[in-house]
Assembly symmetry: C2
Homo-oligomer: 207 residues x 2
């Protein structure tokens, strides 16, 4: 089920709420209120209540909402209630950081395959994953992998994205600072860390 009316900004914040709820200390609470969640996340309770209003309410005022039910509800909306088998393409420094990053499991992402073009890397094992040659990308379909993380230089990003689309990948998390051209049915989210840094000075106080 897709909730068409939820704005992108809300979808962007839901994983933040989910991460906050999944902190072990919070999972021990039977109920959680928007004020408590806002406190934990350092955000506004009204923003949380507004975001939640798109798909339900926040339980009884003053009591809050059943924590586990809330986790389930947000996970379902974000389609994170199933394990997503994910491939990593590009095992450079960034790729290595991604492979070792513990945060993906929280959301049900399981990186099960890793690919590179560098012969010195192919065949090596990192975190129980054998790095394979990118010519083997066609195996993704058989392995039921529909999500890929692209951590390669800009020059080869489009070519590799084309390959991924060909083998049935429906979502790409792209770390190359470029816009990938993909068919409408494929969703790309591009992370350019320089872009995030570029927002900082605007908000910094004049010193």
């Amino acid at each position: 089920m897709r909730y068409h009316k939820i704005p992108d900004e809300t979808i962007q914040r839901l994983p933040i709420y989910l991460r906050g709820l999944l902190l072990s200390s919070n999972l021990l609470r039977q109920n959680i209120s928007s004020n408590t969640l806002a406190n934990i996340l350092g955000t506004n309770p009204w923003q949380i209540r507004k975001d939640f209003s798109y798909f339900g309410d926040f339980g009884t005022p003053g009591v809050g909402c059943d924590t586990k039910k809330l986790v389930k509800r947000i996970s379902k909306i974000l389609k994170l209630d199933v394990v997503h088998r994910t491939a990593l393409v590009g095992v450079g420094n960034l790729g290595l950081a991604i492979l070792k990053f513990p945060g993906f499991k929280t959301f049900g992402f399981d990186i099960v395959s890793a690919f590179d073009t560098d012969l010195r890397k192919i065949g090596k094992t990192i975190k129980n994953i054998i790095i394979e040659d990118t010519v083997k990308l066609k195996l993704l379909k058989k392995r039921k992998i529909d999500l890929a993380i692209l951590a390669i230089p800009r020059e080869s990003a489009q070519k590799m994205a084309d390959e991924l689309v060909k083998v049935g990948v429906a979502g790409i998390l792209n770390f190359s600072p470029c816009n990938l051209a993909v068919p409408m049915k494929v969703k790309v989210i591009t992370i350019d860390i320089a872009m995030d840094l570029a927002r900082l000075p605007y908000y910094m106080s004049a010193s």
Copy 2:
């Protein structure tokens, strides 16, 4: 000068426009229209025109805007019209990827110092930068560095952020999946790559 009325969403998009304009092929154009820019970026021209309406207009309809002037104007709003001396704290896989990432220069960020706690890394040179012991963070003030990129494990992130605040850092780009508590005058932008991945399945077509 700080333009108080510009919404955060617009500020988030301005670096994307700036990156698009700075592509060498576009800098060669005398004028650029919102339609052309939208085409390059794969975005909506009306969105661009709306964003630009907060601080001016997009030149003459049908002709567009002087490209170089536009670059200057956006850079000035984002306070990217000066070089920002930046420090990297944490030279693990992610830190290495950041050090080698070419995209920062585009926006005027110059990573001039790098720090780590690992004795095996301290003293090594990467990209002409000698990795120093984090006990030397107090040198940041003297080096006129007011921006830091934090690429360390979650456990030590808050402690290191406290150190950075103490030595006068006004902005932190934080890669640890946690909310840092800092004084109001310090701006933190947190990037949790798992969060971005967590948005993907929602947008992926049911297959």
